[in-house]
């Protein structure tokens, strides 16, 4: 069977995207299988993730709570899923230290996922009694209503460590500046490029873009998950090569005699 535009089986406008996606998937899955077979890549140290234990330890020593904000989007957003992954790690460490962890959420489904994740982390840490579902609570879907609550909670409870991991918009600076004002150690992670400068300016550590998505693999230390990170890097190298090739070809085209003849330089009268 021939797959083409006439067959109406494959969207002809998306064929190139499909090829790129398939190549990326091959790189990632191939690297994952290689890692499973024993070729585990060495991952560079990510300061923001290394600082998780330091932040939780600081909160424990000071006897103050930890605030974890998993963004303001629902579970259909990959950033929220990545944020819940980091939450699971933070909760495990907080359970070990018996520190208080507050997780205000702006979506009901995120509340359920966060509760599941924190409960499992407490069980794994051998502290099932530490888990308190009331600490993971729904506030509001409204962006600034949620930001107002989080800012108020910071002013009242003075958390020693604040984590912002997920999808953020204009409320990012309200959260980060309030955390900065109370002197909390702050670790942020997002893939919203417009919010990254705000987090970089106000937080102690920021996971930028792909670092945030790599957190899950980095924290798990599982070979097959680490392998996917190498696959990502291979795909990135291929994209860089394609970009360089495109730049060279476009430059050659601009200076080629044929192009010059087609569009001669207009001389002003």
């Amino acid at each position: 069977m021939v797959l083409g535009a006439d067959a109406s089986f494959l969207n002809p406008d998306k064929v190139l995207l499909l090829v790129v996606l398939a190549a990326t998937c091959v790189c990632i899955v191939g690297s994952m299988l290689a890692a499973r077979a024993g070729s585990v890549p060495r991952i560079r140290r990510i300061a923001g993730l290394e600082a998780v234990e330091e932040a939780v330890g600081r909160a424990t020593e000071m006897g103050r709570p930890i605030l974890f904000v998993p963004g303001i989007q629902d579970m259909d957003n990959p950033m929220t899923v990545a944020g819940i992954t980091v939450l699971s790690r933070v909760a495990g460490t907080a359970a070990q230290y018996d520190a208080t962890l507050d997780v205000p959420v702006s979506r009901s489904l995120v509340m359920q996922a966060a509760r599941e994740s924190v409960q499992a982390a407490a069980l794994q840490a051998g502290q099932p009694d530490w888990y308190d579902p009331e600490r993971i609570r729904y506030i509001t879907d409204e962006q600034f209503g949620y930001a107002a609550y989080a800012a108020g909670a910071m002013a009242r409870d003075k958390p020693a460590a604040c984590f912002y991991m997920g999808c953020f918009f204009a409320e990012s600076l309200i959260l980060a500046e309030n955390g900065n004002a109370i002197g909390a150690i702050q670790i942020a992670g997002t893939a919203e490029t417009a919010q990254l400068p705000f987090f970089v300016a106000s937080c102690d550590y920021t996971l930028i873009g792909e670092e945030f998505f790599a957190a899950s693999a980095y924290l798990s230390g599982a070979p097959d998950q680490l392998g996917t990170l190498r696959g990502q890097d291979i795909a990135k190298a291929l994209i860089a090569l394609a970009l360089a090739g495109g730049v060279v070809m476009a430059t050659i085209e601009v200076f080629s005699p044929a192009t010059a003849a087609e569009s001669p330089v207009e001389v002003a009268p």
């Binding site: 009331e134 204009a170 300016a201 873009g209 996917t228």
Partner: protein, 231 residues
């Protein structure tokens, strides 16, 4: 068992969303999956509302610090729910003028619309306006020339700031045409279009690959932390 079902749902939903842009016949499937998610999210709102009520009622009954805020929250919750579900002040839809509740709850003139326009909107606008001060304090901290990088950042920010205002035109408008690229307004455009765009695109490519990698880990069930599994 329940975790296996959740993983299966994740796999089916994820694969459907993945193939839908490429297969015209699957476009409707993606819409169906989105509808299922919206239905699930709407059902989960009951859990969220329940959690909100429980926490606020507990705080109110304990008379702990800030219990007055809980009372305001509960009152606002009850009033908004009542005017929304009860369609208070809703005008009948022209297609069914005999049915007084046929209009939408947020139609102009309804109590719900009034609350949104005259209570919600001013409050959110106020909070949004406060951002200007937060930006100023964050910029003050970020632009301290502590080292070479921070000094470069400060200089760049200065050029952008001046280039985006009339001050840039006044200060460097005298430069001749052959040096027009050095005028602050043109420098600001060059910095935003070339350096800023290049950096942004590099980050976006990394993010796209990170999303793809995360998606594969979720679809293959390698990463189950969102289900309460191993991180």
């Amino acid at each position: 068992m329940s975790r296996s079902i959740a993983l299966l749902i994740c796999l089916v939903g994820g694969l459907t969303m993945l193939v839908s842009p490429f297969l015209p016949m699957a476009t409707g499937w993606a819409n169906d999956v989105t509808d299922w998610f919206n239905i699930l999210a709407a059902m989960a709102f009951v859990l969220g509302g329940g959690s909100l009520l429980k926490v606020q009622l507990m705080r109110l009954s304990a008379r702990g610090p800030g219990w007055g805020y809980s009372a305001v929250t509960l009152l606002a919750f009850a009033v908004t729910l009542w005017v929304g579900l009860g369609k208070v002040g809703v005008v009948a839809d022209p297609s069914a003028p005999m049915v007084p509740w046929s209009g939408k709850p947020d139609d102009e003139g309804s109590a719900f619309w009034w609350i949104y326009l005259y209570v919600m909107t001013p409050i959110t606008s106020t909070l949004f306006a406060v951002l200007a001060f937060y930006v100023a304090s964050a910029a003050f901290r970020a632009f301290r020339a502590k080292n070479l990088e921070a000094t470069l950042l400060l200089a760049t920010a200065f050029v952008i700031l001046l280039g985006r205002t009339f001050a840039g035109v006044v200060l460097t408008g005298w430069l001749p045409d052959w040096a027009s690229g050095l005028r602050l307004e043109n420098l600001a455009v060059t910095i935003m279009d070339v350096f800023n765009t290049a950096g942004n695109r590099a980050i976006i490519i990394g993010i796209a690959l990170g999303v793809a990698s995360t998606g594969i880990r979720l679809l293959l069930g390698l990463d189950r932390s969102y289900l309460g599994g191993d991180a």
